[in-house]
């Protein structure tokens, strides 16, 4: 018996082909949203079937189409950094892990033995964020923000330094404004960032930057993880 008869794979094929309707369609969509393995099976089928479309003869598109596309690119380019996080969200957890390994990063779940325990989240640190690989990936760091002391503590969960690179913490304002650097963070133990304007809303993100941090004041490297800032 081959895996071909697996009912879940058949359901993935039906969803990719687009023949489901009603209740089975709703169920399959919910499964694709919740189960990365199932979502990957759907993608595999979409790509298998897409080869059918490749058999279609090309037809020259009217000249006006490209300028119309080009004119619609600008807003995306301006907010590219944040969009790239959306891109990451669209990936399966597995492919994110592969991408991160490709960057030379180990997302190792086990805590470092010599790392001190994370500082307790108390009334003195009312805002927290868990920075994780997007799309339900592993947690990379826990961040607490103390608005009274204007102090941010970043406790790595699974961050690794890379040669000639720095890890940089950013706040992305909830109003969609430009990300603001909060400083560099260490992978080997907690980093305390003091004397900064402590954010209370939006999301925190960690990016991989050239040694010493982003040269431009805006994130330039890949986004390793993001997490919403919430009241602890």
């Amino acid at each position: 018996m081959t895996a071909a008869a697996h009912p879940q794979d058949l359901r993935a094929a039906e969803l990719a082909l687009g023949v489901l309707e009603g209740e089975p369609l709703a169920e399959a969509k919910a499964l694709a949203a919740a189960d990365t393995g199932f979502a990957a099976a759907v993608e595999t089928w979409e790509l298998r079937l897409a080869v059918l479309a490749e058999a279609i003869a090309p037809v020259a598109a009217p000249e006006r189409v490209w300028p119309a596309i080009r004119d619609r690119l600008t807003p995306v380019a301006r907010t590219r950094w944040w969009d790239s996080v959306d891109v990451w969200r669209g990936l399966t957890a597995a492919s994110v892990t592969v991408a991160a390994v490709g960057l030379g990063l180990w997302i190792a779940p086990e805590p470092k033995p010599d790392a001190p325990p994370p500082p307790p989240i108390t009334a003195a640190s009312p805002y927290v964020a868990l920075v994780s690989v997007p799309d339900g990936g592993p947690a990379l760091a826990a961040v607490t923000v103390d608005t009274e002391l204007k102090r941010i503590v970043v406790t790595p969960v699974a961050l690794t330094e890379q040669q000639a690179k720095s890890l940089e913490l950013w706040v992305v304002p909830a109003d969609g404004g430009a990300p603001r650097s909060l400083g560099l963070v260490k992978a080997g133990g907690p980093t305390v960032i003091a004397g900064v304007s402590a954010p209370t809303d939006g999301a925190l993100a960690i990016s991989l930057e050239p040694e010493g941090g982003s040269p431009t004041g805006a994130p330039t490297g890949p986004i390793l993880g993001v997490g919403p800032l919430t009241k602890g």
Binding site: T2, A4, A5, D9, L10, A13, E14, L17, G18, V19, L20, E21, E43, T44, W45, E46, L47, R48, L49, A50, V51, L52, A53, E54, A55, I56, A57, P58, V59, A60, A61, P62, R64, V65, W66, A68, I69, R70, R72, L73, V76, A77, R80, D83, S84, D86, V87, W88, G90, L91, S95
Partner: protein, 187 residues
């Protein structure tokens, strides 16, 4: 028209697009828009709608190029999957026209017009040839319904109506066809 389907070059373009390079998107568009416009037209059968969907396809590529994985599919296959999905979404959004535009009679013609022979000839590349061969090996009823569903965005009950067959039969044919296809592709 210059259709450049060179895989490596397209991969490089996609990589540059993922890094936000608009000139790479321009190159990608130059090399692949004919192919994708053909896909959109085939599914939508309306130039205006196909043009709009073609724009959406490249805007999607602009945002999602970073998620392209070379190990899973060739760039053209990945792009064709986006074009097909976008076109089907548009077709469904326009609702009732799907069936009024392609009723039962045209359904039969459609199965015939994408005959396995012409498809196998038109398909390029190793995976494509393989799929062509596997489709050719399927029961014609199964293969015909899969094509009809793929290009027409039809659900099981739409297909049953279009083909004038009982719903249960249509489901069985499609499911058998899909599973036979998988066995063939993985053999």
């Amino acid at each position: 028209m210059s259709i450049d389907l060179d895989r490596e070059r397209l991969r490089r373009h996609l990589k540059a697009v993922a890094q936000g390079d608009p000139s790479a998107l321009r190159e990608l568009y130059r090399a692949t828009s004919g192919k994708l416009f053909g896909v959109c037209l085939r599914i939508l059968r309306d130039e205006g709608e196909a043009e709009e969907v073609l724009q959406e396809v490249y805007l999607t590529v602009w945002k999602r190029a970073g998620s392209y994985e070379p190990t899973k599919a060739s760039p053209v296959t990945w792009l064709a999957a986006i074009a097909r999905n976008r076109a089907i979404d548009r077709l469904r959004a326009s609702g009732a026209r799907v069936l009024s535009r392609s009723g039962p009679l045209e359904g039969a013609a459609e199965i015939a017009d994408a005959s396995p022979d012409s498809e196998a000839q038109a398909l390029q590349g190793e995976e494509a040839r393989r799929l062509g061969q596997c489709l050719e090996g399927l029961d014609p009823n199964q293969a015909g319904l899969i094509r009809r569903a793929f290009f027409g965005g039809l659900s099981y009950s739409d297909l049953a109506q279009a083909a004038g067959r009982p719903l249960g039969t249509v489901k069985t044919w499609i499911r058998k066809g899909l599973m036979n296809l998988k066995v063939c592709l993985e053999s």
